[in-house]
Amino acid sequence: MLNENLRLTKYFILGVLLQVLVFESLDFFGYVNPIFYVIFLLIYKFDGSETKFILLSFTLGLLVDLLTQNPGSNTISCLIISYIRPVLINFSFGVNADVSNGMINGTRLENRILFVGLIIFFHHLIYFSVSYFSFSAYIDIIKNTILTTLLTAILIGITLGFISKK
């Protein structure tokens, strides 16, 4: 339990710091920045307390918003993803949805890729929808969501690959 808490704290702090200090100013293709802290939303235990997860995700988004001078898109996207995560876990892992550390081991690679893709895609879709907050900007929302999803997925895929090997 203590180990689990330490692991969570590590990813929480690492996610915020890397996002604020490194990834927020990368500007790939001029304007695309990966959203790395999403890794926290992925590695939280599948059978962990939902209330605790919602509170932690909310705090994570709020911290990133405050530190990057963003009005609140990170908070809202983290919060909504934390609430719908159980549905996405069930959809992606099916019968293996009860494997506690399913993101690290004990599940099939295809399921993990699907889960990572869904979480990142929906997080980014909500993030950009809230940022633009206008139906008429749907082309920009979709374009940014797809580009940033690809970039974040590559980055998080590499990171998760290292974690699994360890």
């Binding site: 919602i54 988004g61 918003d65 609140g72 908070t75 919060l79 934390s82 609430y83 907050f133």
Partner: protein, 263 residues
């Protein structure tokens, strides 16, 4: 009671989520002017659609009253038309205004900052800061404009100040609501060298771009002179009952951009 507590405990995750989501939206609205205005427009559009239903039902029962009001208004328009033809100078001295008609679908008078919602929005060429009047007097100024609805700061809102003057001698001052009585507003900044009598007519001053000059606001109901600062404090009884207005007119000042550029 036990069942309510159980239901709350069972749905604690959803309640927590909802609470945090509301907090997040208030947070984003607080930090970003763009989101604030978008959320305001959304709330006007939503409350407009809801109050539109109750308004449709109420308006059916008020048909007789509205009919009478329209008859009186027609009479006034006819008089105005005759006057205008007789005196072309009167027409030329006014700033040209375009008039839009709208219906009030929500009207509050109980708060110290009252607002109205009208059933015209940006799709009907309504923009911010247009003056709103009724056949009896002034109503307020357009504040937030959504696609199909707009919110209007009522004259019964303590934040609103309107330029007004005496009809008899053109002494002008500023009018605002003292949040006490819904049919009385206060006229300030009239120097005590002017003579004031109970029953004197107060009209719009025409110094702002919201209203043309000379629209009747009300009559002086009481006044006291403040010898310390040299100004009167005049209570004006409104000519209209703002809470009862159903049909209003929105005034678009065609020369507003030109006037603003000179200011």
């Amino acid at each position: 009671m036990q069942q309510i507590v159980n239901a709350l405990i069972n749905n604690r995750t959803f309640i927590l989520f909802l609470f945090l989501l509301l907090f997040s939206f208030s947070f984003i609205s607080d930090r970003s002017l763009y989101h604030n205005s978008k959320l305001n427009r959304l709330s006007i559009e939503m409350s407009g659609s809801i109050f539109n239903i109750t308004h449709s039902i109420n308006s059916y029962f008020n048909l007789k009253k509205v009919n009478n009001e329209l008859l009186i208004e027609n009479k006034k328009l006819l008089e105005y038309e005759i006057n205008r033809n007789e005196n072309k100078l009167f027409n030329n001295s006014n700033i040209p205004f375009e008039v839009f008609h709208a219906k009030v679908i929500k009207n509050s008078i109980k708060s110290s900052r009252n607002y109205l919602i009208i059933n015209k929005g940006s799709k009907d060429s309504i923009i911010r800061e247009m003056g709103v009047i009724s056949s009896q007097g002034i109503i307020g100024i357009v504040n937030i404009v959504a696609d199909n609805y707009s919110s209007v700061i009522s004259i019964l809102n303590r934040d609103l100040r309107i330029n007004a003057k005496f009809k008899k001698n053109n002494a002008f001052g500023s009018l605002n609501w003292n949040s006490i009585n819904t049919n009385t507003v206060t006229l300030n900044d009239i120097p005590i060298i002017n003579s004031v009598r109970i029953g004197d007519s107060i009209v719009t001053g025409g110094m702002s771009t919201y209203f043309p000059e000379g629209i009747l606001i009300g009559v002086v109901s009481s006044y006291k002179s403040n010898l310390v600062n040299g100004y009167y404090e005049i209570d004006v009884k409104l000519n209209n009952i703002v809470g009862n207005e159903l049909n209003v007119y929105i005034l678009k000042n065609k020369s507003k951009i030109k006037i603003k550029s000179l200011e």
